[in-house]
Amino acid sequence: MFSKFDVIETIEMVEKEHLDIRTVTMGISLLSCIRGSAEETAASVYDRVMTKAEKLVPTAEELSLEYGIPIVNKRVSVTPVSLITAAFPQKSALVGKALDKAAKELGIDFLGGYSALVQKGTADYEEVFLKSIPEVLSSTERLCSSVNVGSTRSGINMDAVRTMGQIFLDTAYLTRDNDSLGCAKLVVFCNAVEDNPFMAGAFHGTGEADTVINVGISGPGVVQHALKFVPDADLTDAAETIKRTAFKITRAGQLIAREASKRLNARFGIVDLSLAPTPARGDSVAHILEELGLEVVGCHGTTAALAMLNDAVKKGGVMASSRVGGLSGAFIPVSEDIGMIESAQAGKISLDKLEAMTCVCSVGLDMIAIPGDTPASTISAIIADEAAIGMINNKTTAVRVIPAYGKKVGEEVSFGGLLGRAPVMPVHTGSAEKFVSRGGLIPAPIHSFKN
């Protein structure tokens, strides 16, 4: 049984501290949709998503009302499209557009899976597929794309890394009228996970069941609020406070995931324990770190504070859910976190510090605007650095940078909504052209040989 204080605490979490379920994401396998032609395949893909996800939005809204907890995003992830269009890769865009149409018609916020997994090598059809990404992202609205270029087991596919540098630039150019928004829907991974409910990187892995429900929790504001009650606690006690709070947040996610999968006749996949910020004040991961005692996020000590936060969130969350997965940690996007935006605007956080932070958080360099004239090889080198961190440390890392077309350091990109805004940050100007153009595979690290 719960007490009246528990009731009030939950209501305050929702009303004052931005507690919500960040996303209910339905993963749908498209493997049964492959037909003899791109046109038939696109039609089959459209029908399948329209059928499987028909009730996703109304069900999420019903759950939200019943349990009194907002569900912000209703999303779909699908089998990497490059696998579905392998026989006709030059027509992959048809499937991408069919998915986007289904998402719009169903009221789904984002649909992820215009993806390719090329961590060990790029097949010919994947090469063609990758080149379709800029055009597809510029001509669709809700479709997201991800590419896995490395893993601890396989090493880093530097040919794909080189290609992706240019893909980011092309996407930025084609969406230049909207501050290069297309790049906000594109992410490059190392050690991508198959059950991630968050965008832009969600896709439905081939090892997954036919239809699953994955839930992403939220709650940076709740954690920050809880820490306000222990202003003088040492870090052991502060970590305990975070753990207890993460437990409660995750339990809400677990409940919604269980109920949603039951009502949607899908398998309960996982709860992703990530703390996902929004640009709203009071919903910031950066402000949690500052609550722990940093003057401003990005100063020395930030990496240690983030490591502690990330670990405590996992410990609390794992206890609260029967199935944990996805990315599960703290997100540190720049444009989507008011504390990060302000620190970046004041020049208090650098790309180098962000890179260090990605060694201990759940993802990577996320929603960072860089100058529009950044060379493709520099973007590839940024991707390679991140992938190396992921590969060596057995963790997921990612790069979602926005080379803002026509913009320089000091200017800003603004996407509105949950994607927020970001000042253009400087990158190192030394060239990695020779290194990147070597191509090949960075071999898997010695500790990957575990059999």
Partner: protein, 89 residues
Amino acid sequence: MRAVVTVTGTDRRGIIAKVSGFLYERNINIEDISQTILGEQFAMIMMVDTSEANVNFVELAASLEEMGKGIGMSVRIQHEDIFNAMHNI
């Protein structure tokens, strides 16, 4: 199903009468009531049973919220499981 009705706002006369009358009209049984003061706010918490209610839960939640606005209070109803999940191991 069992649900929790919470009423928060500035204390005034007739709140319990108004809310309980509203629930009675919809055939909802009140099993427990407690009150507390939260800062300067009045907070009333009711455990209710909606299994014999004559409206569905979604309509009930919307009409309760609307009724609350009429008396200057914030009124919501939530399935009890959200509290059980978050506050019990």
